[in-house]
């Protein structure tokens, strides 16, 4: 590779389905990128989406974003790589996103070859790894057990760059993956072409959030990364934004526990010698990022398991006497409910989220007294069945509504409800059950299946 060679990567949006301005995308395509890549997922929205097999992004907007990317990619012969399909990357999410791509191919009569890489891990393989001591919990995570594995709905692994490189080497123009290490979708192709892995992954780490790392930041705008032999350059594609040393360096902190060492499949990006330089025109050049392999090639597993059903009711109070005594009142209501449902073995849980007091921080709220003239109370019932959750929520709501607390002068009702019906079924509830590293012990786990389209028809 010569010093002048460069590899340009277009990142259209922070998460597939968040959208981007057409003008920014066009500016990106005018820069003749060698790759269009997008990360489509995260664990941030909580355990439900992985556990239930649902997308957290909107189908219409995922389709909208994908249509721009696929049409431009096919027309200009630019590979398109999409990671963590459907938000959580299990097989069900992957199929959801694959169907959307099929629709676009048909509607726009596109011709391309697509590699689809599932990242589900067979539960027996996880149990075997557990027995053989090849599972390690991440910081602050519980020990894994066979029961937890059995109760988990989908187990996914974050794949690294290797399976994506395989698909690209097989001639795929479009690669769609299950759960994927976010930077890998951006780094796989340049690493395959011989670019430095540390720089490629660090660039991917920043591009996976697209314009969030620019200033003013936005999750719904495009960014361009230009990878060179010894550095990479970040460029915004909207004249309203620019990259600065501060914005790029600050983003390196985002959602990580240690900004100097960013772990991923098979190793970590080391940023101890990393430098950020402003090179003008809203561009920043980054140097010195290194990839360091770990002695064992660990992959990260994720999974969630169902723990019950939820119902909620939303209400407000404007009564100063009730507000002054709210902690005691809620404790007494809780006590009365416990007495009424004598057969509760602890599996039926009731929570009051009191907004205006400590709804956001709960027991960690440092301010003990509220100064608010009104409070919002969200009653939450979490029970083994939906019927039990509905019952507990309903009885908690009616009990609190008419509870005769000490000093009450407003005797017609304690709560203001904005809605009828007042109670909402929230459906099944999940919790993260697997967040562990696994050593696959050299076994190949991820395979590409290839499908080809000519004028929108599979052949």
């Amino acid at each position: 590779m010569t010093n002048n060679e460069e590899f340009r990567v277009l990142s259209p949006t922070a998460i597939l389905g968040y959208g981007f301005p057409e003008s920014s995308f066009k500016r990106g395509i005018e820069r003749q990128p060698h790759l269009i890549a997008v990360d489509a997922g995260s664990t941030d929205p909580g355990p439900y989406y992985l556990g239930a097999g649902k997308a957290f992004t909107d189908r219409a907007f995922v389709k909208r974003d994908l249509r721009y990317m696929l049409k431009a990619g096919v027309a200009n012969n630019i590979p398109v790589v999409i990671g963590t399909a459907g938000g959580s990357g299990a097989s069900v999410h992957l199929q959801w996103c694959r169907q959307i791509i099929h629709e676009i191919a048909r509607e726009d009569k596109l011709s391309f070859k697509m590699g689809v890489i599932p990242s589900d891990i067979n539960k027996d393989a996880v149990k075997k790894a557990l027995t053989e001591g090849r599972i390690s919990p991440l910081a602050c995570v519980h020990e894994l057990t066979e029961n937890l594995i059995d109760e988990t709905t989908y187990v996914v692994a974050q794949i690294g760059i290797e399976p994506i490189i395989e698909a690209l080497e097989a001639g795929c123009n479009v690669v769609l993956t299950g759960r994927c290490y976010d930077p890998a979708v951006f780094a796989a192709l340049p690493v395959m072409k011989g670019y430095d892995e540390g720089l490629a992954l660090h660039m991917g780490k920043i591009l996976e959030c697209a314009a969030i790392a620019s200033t003013p930041g936005s999750g719904a705008d495009c960014a361009l990364g230009i990878l060179k032999k010894d550095s990479f350059i970040l460029e915004a594609l909207n004249p309203k934004r620019k990259f600065t040393c501060e914005s790029a360096a600050a983003h390196t902190l985002y959602e990580k526990s240690d900004p100097y060492h960013l772990p991923g499949p098979g190793g970590a990006i080391n940023l101890e010698d990393c430098s950020f330089t402003d090179i003008g025109d809203g561009r920043v050049e980054v140097k010195g990022s290194r990839f360091e392999k770990t002695p064992r090639y660990w992959i990260k597993l994720e999974g969630a398991r169902p723990i019950g059903y939820r119902s909620i009711s939303i209400a407000g109070t404007r009564d100063p006497i009730m507000i002054a005594g709210i902690d005691t009142i809620l404790a007494e209501v809780q006590q009365q409910l416990n007495e009424m449902s004598g057969d509760n073995d602890g599996s039926q849980k009731l929570f009051f989220h009191v907004y205006g007091k400590n709804g956001v921080m709960g027991p960690l709220e440092p301010l003990l007294q509220t100064s608010s003239h009104e409070l919002c109370i969200v009653i939450e019932a979490l029970c083994p069945t939906q019927e039990q959750a509905d019952t507990l929520c309903s009885v908690a709501r009616s009990t609190l509504l008419h509870y005769g607390y000490e000093g009450r002068i407003s005797t017609a009702g304690n709560l203001a409800f904005p809605f009828s019906p007042s109670d909402i079924k929230m459906g099944q509830v999940f919790e993260f059950s697997i967040y562990h590293l696994m050593d696959p012990a050299g076994e190949k786990l991820f395979f590409t299946s290839i499908e080809s389209f000519r004028n929108g028809q599979k052949f």
Binding site: G46, C274, F351
Partner: protein, 103 residues
């Protein structure tokens, strides 16, 4: 005369670092403030534990990151994201106690 951290910091934020950890970033306005806070160890385990009402052993790390003039504090999440009793799935609104830091 003690001064409030808002004089020295331009970003104070919290966010999940995965579902089991919560991380706080304080980005200083200038390299001078960064150096002052770092050399005087104004932000330390004892002070953070007090402000956040958590055990010192739940503070996983305090890392000074010069490229961004920032300090990062990572703690064990009070509960895993989305567990029963959760109040903030993304962990993005847990930073307020840090606004009381003085120097």
């Amino acid at each position: 005369m003690k001064r409030n951290i808002l004089e020295a910091a331009k970003v104070i934020r919290s966010k999940n670092a995965g579902p089991f950890e919560l991380t706080f970033d304080i980005i200083f306005k200038t390299r001078d403030y960064f150096e002052q806070f770092k050399s005087q160890q104004i932000i330390n385990v004892k002070m953070i534990a007090g402000l956040l009402k958590i055990d010192e052993s739940d503070i996983l790390s305090i890392i000074w990151f010069a490229p961004a003039n920032a300090v990062k504090i990572t703690i064990k999440r009070p509960m895993p994201s989305g567990a029963p009793g959760e109040t903030d799935i993304y962990g993005a609104q847990q930073h307020a106690p840090l606004l009381a830091i003085e120097f």
